[in-house]
């Protein structure tokens, strides 16, 4: 008689795995990366490669220190963190910036909390925030698209002193200075659609995030109430990247649909406040980090509605 295997039910499981999810997001980020390289040139690719390699190396090192299976480095999460960090950096930044950023993302953003699934803050944004505070000049030296006459620009469209006027089409296609992964909205939308179709993400966070920024910047416009250029505000910064790819990070966002909507609105309000009143032109990174911290409390107050809780 053959030996029989015994295990608890269910005896069939869905083919979806955590690894597949991570790699699907990596695939969804490819068009954005290609756009970044096309727009800013090969320096974008350098930043991406250094960032990803730094994340993988640091992750492998820490898995070894923690006596974990180092093969876990291939679960896709470190590569994803590296890509997302690179997409949040200026294309002209020196190589050691993404290297340090990647290491900080993995160490302070992920491994010290216990690794995959345990972190409170989005690792890539932890890295970016660290770099922003440590080397503000490198983090705000922007490069113009390859086809512009001046290579170096001093401002993204969001900066209050921004010189040239941008058409919506410029912003949509990425004909502007900015971080590698935030400028080409059309590529971001292609990636986001892919994630929606494959059901990796839902619209709860992105819609509430983007919608909130849109409404607030429309109400509190430069030229008076209800006159704000909300389309510009949505397209010009890192909101599309942040709302679809950063704020939707499973580990650092709420569990329930209700919680996700609250989280998205919170991100939107904070982003709008930082943009309208802060000294810093962009607020996506910090608003997501702030809301990450609020996730446990959001989860506590947004439990699901249970079957059978009816008044007799």
């Amino acid at each position: 008689m053959n030996k029989l295997t015994v295990s608890p039910s269910p005896h069939i499981k869905s083919s979806q795995t955590t690894k597949k999810i991570m790699w699907t997001v990596v695939i969804a980020l490819i068009p954005v990366g290609m756009a970044g390289v096309y727009i800013f040139g090969i320096s974008s690719l350098n930043v991406m490669v250094f960032s990803v390699l730094s994340c993988i190396f640091t992750e492998a090192l820490f898995l070894k220190f923690r006596n974990r299976d180092p093969r876990a480095v291939l679960d896709g999460s470190a590569i994803l963190t590296g890509l997302l960090l690179a997409y949040n950096l200026p294309p002209s930044t020196p190589f050691w910036i993404p290297v340090i950023g990647g290491a900080v993302s993995i160490i302070l953003g992920k491994q010290i909390f216990g690794g995959l699934g345990q972190n409170i803050f989005n690792p890539a944004l932890v890295g970016r925030a660290f770099l922003q505070i440590s080397w503000p000049v490198y983090m705000t030296t922007w490069k113009n698209p390859r086809w512009w006459p001046d290579a170096i620009s001093s401002a993204t469209p969001l900066a209050k002193e921004a010189g040239p006027h941008f058409t919506y089409m410029d912003l949509f296609l990425g004909n502007r200075a900015g971080c590698i992964g935030e400028v080409c909205v059309i590529a971001l939308i292609i990636g986001a659609l892919f994630l929606l179709v494959t059901k990796i993400i839902s619209l709860h966070i992105p819609l509430s995030f983007i919608g909130t920024v849109g409404i607030i910047t429309w109400i509190f416009g430069k030229d008076g109430f209800f006159k704000g250029d909300f389309i510009f505000n949505i397209l010009a910064g890192g909101i599309i990247l942040g709302a679809f790819f950063m704020a939707t990070d499973y580990v650092t966002s709420p569990l329930t649909k209700k919680g996700k909507i609250i989280f998205g609105i919170g991100c939107g309000v904070l982003t709008a406040i930082i943009r309208l009143r802060g000294s810093y032109p962009e607020g996506v990174c910090y608003s997501i980090l702030f809301m990450n911290a609020a996730v446990p409390i959001i989860d506590r107050f947004t439990k699901t509605k249970k079957y059978g809780l009816i008044k007799k």
Binding site: M1, L4, P8, P10, H11, I12, K13, T256, T304
Partner: protein, 443 residues
């Protein structure tokens, strides 16, 4: 009101759904556990050495929630001893050696007369005497369900023909092949309950069965006290676990059974189609419950069958009949469906009243993905049919925080396994929730 979540696993029903029900051979030896229903184990009324007929009472219900047990073969009682049990591992059973004659005994508590003249008390007595339990899987004594406390007014009787577990097709075949008997059984049970509104819920992957039932309803024009029954077949989308009693009620009536309560709290009684068929046989044919239809399916499609098998037949006998080749890559044998069934380690365990199928799986069904940490993707939350947060319960259990686990209501879990099914990190959430229930109860 909460919305109900479902999942859509592959249904694997094509393997067995076209196999006509056939009679399995009578086992040489029947192992009849005293505990094969919800409630107290029944009490033996025979001793080793006694002669019994097929259908003789061998153990009687002990207490209100319990059921009679009848011999499934004619022959001699060999022993009453600890024996393999498909769900409990080992439990006390009456072992009967068949004489190969299959001499039948009938139910005799009610005088033989025309069925239409039977009172509802007489019908109920026959159902009780026949030892009928819910044949959908939970094996709750049918008599108890048909005797709600007087304070509970029952207005709707639901017949569960959803058969949402993948692979299983026994209910499907029974509805196709014995629709008239099922409708006659429905009529009897509606009479006992005094209910006019009856709904048969059938998933759309069994639309042919729904049509057969509808034509039988048309031909028989089932009635109750002279008036026709309001008996409808409702087609449901195919989704899991819609055959769960509470989920089925929600989908058919949009009513929710209160947490911790029973369907009769909201005026509903639910019974499986096979249970209804057993009621028909008990009342019309005076036949106790000693056999049932099960599906044999799995990796080896040439073994797939729907068979009428005697309760107590060892799994091994059933599989041998289906042509189990010892050399095939047998990997797992499951009693029941793939979502909630129990993997067997001893093929001497018998088919019991609650057995709906036996699955034989090969290595292709090996779950080779390693368990990873929870990434809070919330797929389990979106899959849970009772609106729980399985990951929250599971993580609390892993950290030994049972108070925290209790705050997420694990006792509302119906053990459907959907959370484990969808988890991309392959965390055995259903098992962790079960553990939470056990540990919290002990505290």
């Amino acid at each position: 009101m909460a919305s109900v979540n479902f999942i859509h696993p592959p249904d694997f029903k094509d393997i067995a759904k076209n196999k006509k029900i056939e009679q399995a051979p009578i086992p040489k030896r029947a192992i009849l556990p005293l505990s094969q229903h919800t409630g107290a184990p029944s009490e033996p009324v025979v001793n080793a050495g006694d002669s019994v007929k097929t259908g003789s009472l061998i153990a009687q219900a002990k207490g209100f929630i319990s059921a009679n047990l009848h011999s499934s073969v004619s022959g001699k009682v060999l022993a009453i001893e600890e024996s393999p049990h498909p769900g409990l591992g080992i439990s006390k059973a009456i072992i009967i050696e068949s004489d190969g004659q299959d001499i039948k005994a009938s139910l005799d508590s009610v005088p033989v007369k025309d069925v239409s003249t039977l009172s509802k008390e007489e019908i109920a007595a026959l159902i009780k005497e026949a030892g009928i339990v819910g044949l959908g899987g939970a094996a709750f004594p049918a008599f108890v369900k048909l005797n709600p406390p007087p304070a509970k007014k029952i207005d709707t009787f639901i017949i569960n023909g959803a058969e949402c577990e993948p692979f299983l097709t026994c209910d499907h075949r029974l509805m196709l092949e014995r629709p008239k008997e099922i409708i006659l059984g429905v009529q009897l049970m509606a009479k006992v309950l005094g209910v006019k509104d009856v709904i048969i819920g059938v998933e759309e992957n069994k639309i042919d069965a729904a049509e057969r039932l509808n034509s039988s309803i048309f031909v028989l024009k089932p009635s109750l006290g002279g008036q026709s029954l309001n008996l409808k077949v409702k087609i449901l989308k195919t989704q899991y676990p819609q055959g769960g009693e509470k989920q089925l009620i929600k989908m058919l009536l949009n009513r929710e059974v209160p947490s911790g309560g029973l369907p009769l709290d909201i005026g509903v009684v639910v019974n499986n189609v096979q249970t209804v068929f057993a009621v028909y046989e008990a009342v019309y044919l005076k036949k106790p419950l000693y056999e049932r239809v099960i599906t044999v399916s799995g990796s080896f499609s040439n073994m797939a069958k729907n068979i009428l098998v005697r309760i107590g037949a060892p799994i091994k006998d059933v599989l041998d009949y289906c042509g189990l080749n010892q050399k095939t890559g047998l990997y797992k044998v499951i009693m029941g469906g793939p979502m909630t069934g129990v993997a067997q380690c001893d093929l001497n365990a018998p088919v019991i009243k609650g057995t709906s199928g036996i699955l034989i799986l090969d290595k292709k069904f090996r779950l080779k993905e390693e368990e990873l940490e929870c990434i809070r993707c919330s797929r389990c939350i979106e899959a849970c049919p009772v609106g729980l947060m399985p990951c929250a319960i599971g993580l609390s259990v892993k950290k030994d925080k049972f108070d925290l686990a209790a705050s997420y209501d694990p006792f509302d879990c119906i053990d459907c396994g959907s959370c484990s099914y969808v988890c991309p990190s392959k965390i055995p959430l259903a098992q962790l929730v079960k553990l939470a229930k056990v540990k919290i109860k002990r505290q």
